[in-house]
Amino acid sequence: MRLLRPILAFLASIILTLLGLLAVTFVIGRVIPIDPVLAVVGDRASPQTYAAARAAMGFDLPLYQQFLIYLKNVLSGNFGQSTLTGRPVLEDIKAFFPATIELSSVAIVVGVGLGVPLGVLAGVRSGRWPDHLVRLFGLVGYSAPVFWLGLVGLLIFYAKLDWVGGPGRLDIYYDGLIEPRTGLLLLDSLLAGDTEVFWNAVSHIVLPASILAWYSMAYLSRMTRSFVMAEMKQEYVMTARIKGMSECRVIWRHVMGNVAVPLVTVVALSYGGLLEGSILTETVFAWPGLGRYITESLFNADMNAVLGGTIVVGVCYILLNLLSDLVYRLLDPRAHAA
């Protein structure tokens, strides 16, 4: 019973956020200077055809009715047809989104795996050379434009050294060999037992994932550093030392137990940022992901696709927030009481 109330409050807040998101996408769909009817019938259609299409698409109804219809459609998974691909938007997203998930997930795993330990190192040795080194390394990843890093990376590691695969998720002759089950190529190729395709996919994902990982590592190491520095000043750290614990154990058991609490939120938001913000990387590396899908749809005035993609990204953000909130509650006993 004690848990029921916060869960209900939680669900209510999610539903409200979701409604807000849908309202925003709905309004965007109406106010941008793109006529969706014109995009369907073409600019040489007769006024009669135009009016008929307009009525068929429901644009002659009052706005609130349009919104209700929009709500009903979106909630039942109907994002409409994409004018660019001619397929339902949902089908397109199912095809494109896994590529983004795969790229972002590899990037966040590497980013956390490097960023957190480096941040701890910088925080513990703050003001000394390991700190300066980590901060410099982070600064470059943070401030160098992703597309520039991508192009330079491709030039060096693909064109000159030939250490990694080029743009795309696979070499062209491996395309379509693997039956998509999860849509994540690394996973699908392993499930199919095809190591050749797996290693080819690895060679393609290494570079874009590293660049995204560098970016998130820079952010995560900075945040970890400041969290660690703040916790190291707390009195319980002294208590742990008084007990006779080694500095290493003091940091990894006591300090990190406390740092993990705010860090979870930062990692979740960082992951959310990667899911929506890898557009430039996907463009440079011809990565067939959601970011590129949305961008291309936007250039072609394919509003159904743009809004559908936006909703998916928004929902991911909301879910990640929810997840980080839940983990936060697990990690911090004080959050139960509140």
Partner: protein, 284 residues
Amino acid sequence: MTSISPEAPLLEVEGLRVSFATQRGLVEAVRGVSFAMGREKLGIVGESGSGKSTIGRALMRLVPSPGVVTGQKLKVGGKDVLSANERDLQGLRGGKIAMIMQDPKFSLNPVMRIGTQIEEAIRMHRRVTRKAARAHAMEALLAVRISNPERVYHCFPHELSGGMGQRAMIAMMLSTQPDVLIADEPTSALDVTVQAQVLAILDDLVSRRGMGLIMISHDLELVASFCDRVLVMYAGRIVETLEASALSRAVHPYTRGLIACLPRLSEASSRLQTMQRDPAWSQV
């Protein structure tokens, strides 16, 4: 636990100095302090900044950087602390000498259960199974007169009152059976009624186990009533050492000044005394 012979001093300190290199030059928090103590209750009093807390940390070599501890001699239970390496120091901390701090709200790890924190201290110093450590932790909680150790064991620090938290802290620090316990303002964050309870528990455990206790406080009367001997510190040095019962016979003007500053309920006086300082007190 190897115990040392009762006649040998638990703690020998000679010419202890602690200095901090700051941007405005060298700050000497402790300037040549010498004392020895056995199985007794020793009070260290002084005003804020007199260096009393720094002494406590220096004894465990836990002065935060950039502090530097030097001295002719610093021995805990016969072991030299000044020349000890990090590994020996870790055995010493908790094992021979432990410390409780001012406010359990900050000195206990907020995301760890009380029981886990106590067990961790025990397992740092004794090779025991999880189950045995748990039993020891329960005993330690019972020893500080916690009537329901099972409940407190599973509590997080924020679920305990200040008095309970400080008892848990005492239980944790005594669970490894050190010879010397430093109590750095152990009751100043507690309510007055709770203060008395916590002090009684501390007094009882320390005398029953024959430990040495160093009580660091700014509260002269409390220290005088609780301890056997009192060191009065001023500007990083000991200006006077007194038997606690002989407080009224203090000769140093600083100590006399401190006593004179105390407000008394029995005497009506319009104005409280203030300290008239003499720069000569802080000269070497």
